[in-house]
Amino acid sequence: MKYVDEYRDPKIAQAVAAEIARTVTRPWVLMEVCGGQTHTLMRYGIDELLPPEIELVHGPGCPVCVTPLEMVDRAIRIASLPGVIFTSYGDMLRVPGSESDLFQAKARGADVRVVYSPMDALHIARVNPDRKVVFFGVGFETTAPANGMAVWQAKREGLTNFSMLVSHVLVPPAMRLILNSPANRVQGFIAPGHVCTVMGYREYEELVSEFHVPMVVGGFEPLDLLEAISMLVSQLEEGRAEVENQYARSVNQEGNLPAQNILREVFQVSDRQWRGIGPIAESGYRLRQEYADFDAERIFGVEDWHAEEPKECISALVLQGLKKPLDCPAFGKRCTPMTPLGAPMVSAEGACAAYYQYRRHAHA
């Protein structure tokens, strides 16, 4: 497949891995921030190609994983109300809340529909004027512009039966939390390529100058990741700390300005709860006051609906790169994708699920 196979060439991969092995002189701990990158690393076994000095730990960048329990409970609550059509990306449907998930709400009679875009949800609202259509707006800076656009469009059209349950989170505050932790082991970051496609990488330059830790904006194909690791190792070995852009075919310093405009128009930065991590100040988006009529939490009165996160699961440690999934005694036994005990086992992009899917024989 053109423009994909070029980035999956095993011979080039081995050459880059050999180059990394020649460069490295001592152990380094690197974190890939994004769950999509974790998935690629596991799927292609890239960590097996690397010299033993390089340890990869997996970051908090799986939007499904970090969506808080109480937000899933609110979604189920809204979806179960009469007259509501609840729309969502497919993988949110399996995420367990306190007692149930959206698939089970659907089995109990809730009208829950999988869509591939928030624009599909808008369309459903247009053709069902007597129903209240809610879209579950989940994700990082990558999904936020399209969701913002849907709300903006709904306001422009005067749609009164469309709203969004907003649970957007931002990457840089989570990286700051990791870097501020006294337990932090991460010495270099592969920054999330798709987030930077939207936002550019100025925010990451700020983090680098504050914490003196190297970062490389990386893509999602095997060779993207190997090249990003190679660039990080070079920085570390040479004692440099700067932002480099491996994913230049998609990312530039400024990012996608029209997308950023729609974000500023529709959303404002707010505190957010992260599943497995806890509250992080100014780490997400909520709808601006001008768009309050589209805020599903307000419309359906679920803002005060809270749930206690189980504190025992080690996902907080996994999401911050302090533990590997295989370190958990429940991994692959009581905790599987069928019976997820914690967030990273839920989504295909979660670190635990990626290990389970591709790697548990190493554990057995």
């Binding site: 190609l49 367990p96 939390l177 991590i277 996160e309 504190k311 429940a330 069928m338 024989h361």
Partner: protein, 354 residues
Amino acid sequence: MPDTLTETLVCPTPLQVRDRIVLGHGSGGRLSAELLRDVFLPLFSNPVLDRMDDQAMLEIGGARVAFTTDSFVVQPLFFPGGDIGSLAVHGTVNDLAMGGARPLFLSAGFILEEGFPMEALRRIASSMAEAAAAAGVLIVTGDTKVVERGKGDGLFINTTGIGIVPDGVRLSASQARPGDRVILSGPIGDHGIAILCKREGLEFETEILSDSAALHNLVAAILAASSGTNSIRCLRDPTRGGVSSALNEIAAQSGVSIQIEETCVPVREEVRGACELLGLDPLYVANEGKLLAFVAPEVADEILAAMRRDPHGSAAAIIGTVGNESAGLVTMRTAFGSTRIVDMLAGEQLPRIC
């Protein structure tokens, strides 16, 4: 810092109690297997059923009769490369053929929703008739029920089939042995992706057609090429749940491991493209005209050659080998040379594709 960093290695156990049927129970993956294990098998258990093949094998008056049933709820009813009518014939013919049987007779049960267009029903019935004639089977009995508007989804079809198994042919998912070769009859994922593209209105430069086809001739060719030996262990059509589910079931039932080679598994460019775009793995996507053959190593090349002479096996390839590592484990050597697990689908990848 949140205080959840406190290191306690105990997970709570909010196990998901499934008190209702969810869509994943119909996905052909792990939830479907759980449904069988927890609800049906304990109540229906008998030696024929407990073999858990795609068809029951019955001894009646000295003859070995293969007996199977399948229900079809696909949406849309008409899709590129077929429709629910031809699919309902091919699906049951193939389940018989995978037992080594010559398919002979089918039943057809229709559940129709009030208001369903007569013209569409005629088209579907005529497509069934054509498919049955082409497969050399007779539709000899049937049933029709009509449910109120809103209580069905247009049309559901059930077909049941019987066929005769030639002497000396004994195929079962429990017979794979270490050293056996795994042959796949052609490129995977066509049916599932054709359905999904049609349903979601996705278009590619080349239209992706369902591979829906009757495979009894391909099976006959395989059996003929191995005449008189027990070298064909098992045949399986990887429908719902795709190749990964079929391999996992066979590995579990035979108590063996299976390793496949990523570079050997045929996938059409356009299907790969669609899977990339939709975030799907072709190994989990449904097929309706492909089979997996587990054969003894010494006959593998001969069987492969015989398969390639059949129009439905022209792109057949040896994709893997049976091993004796942990029972039930399916792994894939990636193009990168690393090894990863090919797991059974946990829940739902696509809603209702066959």
